[in-house]
């Protein structure tokens, strides 16, 4: 029933159903009922069974030893590891505590719920999952574990981490790289209002350390299209810098700039073999989870 799939409802409506735990659990229930297996295929996999070769199967999965022994064509099938280590990095800087409309979640609130849901999905697969919250410094660290009560710890850490006061997240990212010593999955959830070069340097370092990195670029729809009164003084909540503009006059140039920036992030990530996804804060959580998968 579509009506019960709260993972496909508007995030603002879903968030009003209850706390993060309830929302995340409901989202995951709906999300998992729509898929037959985990979409998060780990980079470290193990063999499970053979099946007969069919035309079109990749030759690299052909079991050459079985072919030599029995002269029959079999391909190997794999299952993701149960001890995948996933670390969710969430940006709690001041810019995340912003929303462009009253009936919309702040970027931070959206990320909190999405991170909780993602962690639940991972933990249900028996993947060790941890969390790091940062602004201009690392604020909260929950080590990746799979034992019972881990999800509750993660959720509590999310809830108890206040909105950041910091403005520049690049130093924190460098600090994060030193915390992630074992290879695993790293999911960065941020509005990416960061210095792209410094940020990419940190992420590139993670890639070199063997991490699989996913960047979740969270944006409010109001950040994509400029609107507002005839003339307005915009203030950056982080730097307190101000700029007086006429939104209608600058809208086209602004949208072009945002599009240019998005393309730059996407292409830079692709070059570094980093998955990049832009997620709007009005996108249903289920679709966001599927996108990340």
């Amino acid at each position: 029933m579509v009506a019960t799939r709260i993972d496909l409802l508007d995030p603002w409506d879903v968030a009003r159903l209850g706390g993060i735990e309830i929302v995340a659990r409901g989202v995951v229930e709906g999300f998992l009922s729509g898929v037959h297996r985990s979409p998060f295929r780990g980079f470290s996999v193990e063999f499970t069974e053979h099946r007969a070769y069919q035309p079109g199967d990749e030759l690299r999965y052909l079991d050459w030893r079985m072919l030599a022994r029995s002269d029959r064509l079999f391909v190997k099938q794999f299952e993701e590891e149960t001890n995948l280590r996933a670390m969710i990095l969430i940006d709690v800087s001041r810019s995340m505590a912003w929303r462009g409309a009253d009936a919309r979640l702040t970027k931070r609130a959206y990320v909190d719920r999405l991170a909780a849901a993602l962690a639940l999905v991972l933990l249900r697969q028996r993947d060790a999952t941890g969390l790091i919250a940062f602004d201009d410094a690392v604020r909260t660290v929950v080590s990746a574990r799979v034992k019972g009560g881990q999800w509750a710890r993660l959720v509590r850490a999310i809830v108890e981490t206040p909105d950041g006061v910091g403005t520049a997240a690049e130093p924190a990212l460098r600090q994060v790289t030193s915390l992630l010593t074992r290879r695993g999955l790293v999911v960065l959830m941020s509005d990416l209002l960061l210095d792209r070069r410094l940020t990419m340097t940190a992420l590139q370092y993670l890639r070199h350390r063997g991490h699989h990195v996913i960047v979740c670029h969270v944006v409010d729809p109001a950040e994509l299209e400029l609107s507002g009164p005839a003339e307005v003084r915009f203030r950056d909540p982080e730097s307190q810098a101000t700029l007086v503009v006429r939104p209608r006059e600058l809208a086209r140039a602004y949208e072009a700039t945002v599009a240019r920036e998005t393309i730059a992030w996407r292409s830079t990530c692709r070059r570094q073999r980093i998955a990049y996804h832009q997620v709007r804060t009005d996108l249903p959580f289920g679709l966001a989870l599927r996108m990340l998968g």
Binding site: R94, S95, M96, W98, D191, L193, E223, L226, G228, P229, E231, V232, R233, F234, R235, D236, P237, E238, S239, A241, T242, L243, V244, V245, R248, E249, L250, A251, R252, A253, Y254, A256, T257, V258, E261
Partner: protein, 555 residues
């Protein structure tokens, strides 16, 4: 290029409005948080040049829009073809030969200068044009070019003041129905302020060209009216305000009565010597200046013998008291009240209505063409001959009816438009008894002078001295061997003020005010000039469209 409404050009200052609005209407914008300010700053940096250029274009377009509208409102006239002939035109030339044209400026009469310009206008006409000429008498004369030129050449200084506002209005009316497509009125005048009148002329569809005023001898003194009352001469000295006083000489015949010094705006009161009964005349003369026409005016007055009034017994206490004040003498016998006698009689209606018939029969026996009729409705007195009667209430009255047409009778006062005071030969009929039950007149200050006029002047056929506009002179009215009245002719007192009209005041005549050099060039422009206001408005529309486009598409 000339403008029909050049004063509107002052509105060009409104072209600064867009800039002033831009500078003054700046306000503190509302604040709002916006995390992606770095993108905004980048966008602003990239588009700053374009936005600034757009602002400049918008400012220029808005300023141009205001300027174009103001220019269009000023009705610019553009010359469309060079020189040559002109389209058939209906033209009225107003040649103002009023008294002020007789002033001498730099040794030359103003009239000669005006004559040249008027001749120029008529000379420039072509045979297919329709021409009229209006002089100071206000009569529009139609005619051929040669005939009108002859009238201009023969015209001297007229003794009549010309109201230019009325003259232009009449001229516009004269040519309004003319079939020719182009209509012009040329005002050739010295443009003294007092000639303009107060009305503003609406010359729709007619091009009015006004010759800019000549340099008038503004310091001028003139004599207004000289009126004798109760043995005293009152003289108004007029002229251009601020002119120094000058010597005034009063003569009776050839005898100098007095000299005095007076400037414009003063009134001299000069006692005259007691003269025996009869008509006496004299003149008041100012020392000469460049405008001589108003330097001398005649005056006349009548010293009458008081009548020997025989009042009837029932004339009432008010008439009796008035006669006591007048101290009637032993002049001609005048009967007052009762039935008419053989000589001059002033008749009042009887107390008893039953006696009206007897009075009417007596009037008929005297050969009177008037009789007393039925009672009339109450009302208010109106009189030209006796201005002091105006507005006096009448409660009771008899209608005065003309029984047969008579030749020597005059209605001197009316109530509700019906005769109330009538002179018929040596009979004067009054519609009401002179009693407060009939009329308020006995309560008024004017009552004794009225009774005086009745018994000493009106019943003897004398009329007051009248004043008429014209060449200064005196004309006497005679009846038989008797002189019964006089008319004193003189100039309109307003012509003595030679203050020149300003260009703005002259534009009240509904046209362009041009100096002589441009006057001829602008004549017959109907076929050679085009009103560019439509073109400017179309241009303004294009600019408005461009402004709209830049304002909306640039966003």
């Amino acid at each position: 290029m000339t403008f029909l409404h050049p004063l509107v050009l002052l509105g060009l200052a409104a072209g600064a409005i867009p800039t002033l609005l831009h500078l003054l209407a700046r306000h503190e914008p509302p604040d709002a948080d916006f995390p992606a300010l770095r993108y905004l700053t980048e966008a602003e940096r990239r588009s700053a040049h374009r936005v600034r250029l757009r602002h400049l274009i918008l400012l220029a377009l808005r300023t141009a829009l205001v300027l174009l509208i103001v220019l269009a409102a000023a009705r610019p006239l553009l010359r469309t073809t060079a020189g040559g002939g002109h389209a058939p035109t209906a033209l009225v030339v107003i040649f103002d030969n009023s008294p002020s044209a007789g002033a001498v400026v730099e040794g030359r009469p103003v009239l000669e200068r005006l004559r040249e310009v008027a001749r120029g206008s008529v000379n420039a006409a072509r045979p297919e044009d329709h021409l009229w000429l209006m002089l100071a008498d206000g009569v529009a004369r139609a005619g051929e070019r040669s005939a009108l030129l002859a009238v201009i050449d023969s015209a001297g200084v007229a003794p009549w003041r010309l109201d230019l506002g009325d003259a232009v209005t009449r001229a516009v009316q004269v040519i309004s129905d003319d079939p020719l497509p182009n209509r012009e009125v040329h005002v050739v005048s010295d443009l003294e302020r007092s000639a303009l009148g107060s009305a503003r002329v609406e010359a729709r569809g007619t091009l009015v060209l006004v010759l800019a005023g000549a340099t008038l001898p503004a310091p001028n003194r003139g004599v207004g009216r000289a009126v004798v009352t109760d043995g005293q001469l009152a003289v108004n000295v007029l002229g251009t305000p601020g002119t120094d006083p000058g010597a005034v000489t009063v003569r009776l015949g050839s005898t100098v009565v007095t000299h005095a010094l007076a400037g414009p705006g003063t009134t001299l009161t000069i006692p005259l010597p007691v003269e025996p009964p009869g008509w006496w005349q004299g003149d008041v003369t100012l020392e000469p200046d460049e405008f001589r026409a108003d330097d001398q005016v005649p005056f006349v007055w009548h010293v009458a013998r008081e009548s020997d009034v025989h009042p009837a017994s029932d004339v009432g206490p008010f008439v009796t008291a008035a006669l006591a004040v007048l101290e009637t003498r032993s002049g001609p016998v005048v009967r007052l009240g009762g039935l008419p006698g053989p000589g001059p009689s002033v008749l009042l209606p009887p107390l008893e209505p039953a006696l009206v018939g007897e009075l009417d029969r007596a009037l008929a026996a005297r050969g009177s063409s008037w009789r007393y009729g039925q009672s009339g409705s109450p009302g208010v007195l109106a009189s030209r001959a006796l201005a002091e009667l105006g507005g006096v209430a009448v409660a009771q009255r008899y209608r005065l009816e003309r029984s047969v047409s008579g030749s020597d009778s005059a209605i001197l006062a009316t109530v509700n438009g019906e005769p109330w005071l009538v002179r018929d030969g040596d009979l004067v009929l009054v519609g009401s008894r002179l009693d407060t039950a009939w009329t308020d007149l006995p309560r008024r200050v004017a009552f004794v002078p009225f009774v005086d006029a009745l018994v000493n002047r009106l019943v003897r056929g004398e009329t007051p001295v009248e004043w008429m506009e014209g060449r200064p002179r005196i004309e006497f009215r005679v009846r038989g061997l008797d002189t019964v009245g006089a008319k004193v002719y003189g100039l309109d007192p307003r012509v003595s003020d030679l203050t020149a009209a300003t260009a703005e005041e002259a534009r009240g005549l509904g046209g362009m005010v041009l100096p002589a050099a441009q006057f001829a060039a602008a004549s017959f422009a109907g076929g050679r000039r085009a009103d560019a206001s439509g073109l400017l408005l179309a241009l303004a529309l294009v600019v408005a469209g461009a402004e709209l486009g830049v304002a909306t598409l640039g966003r």
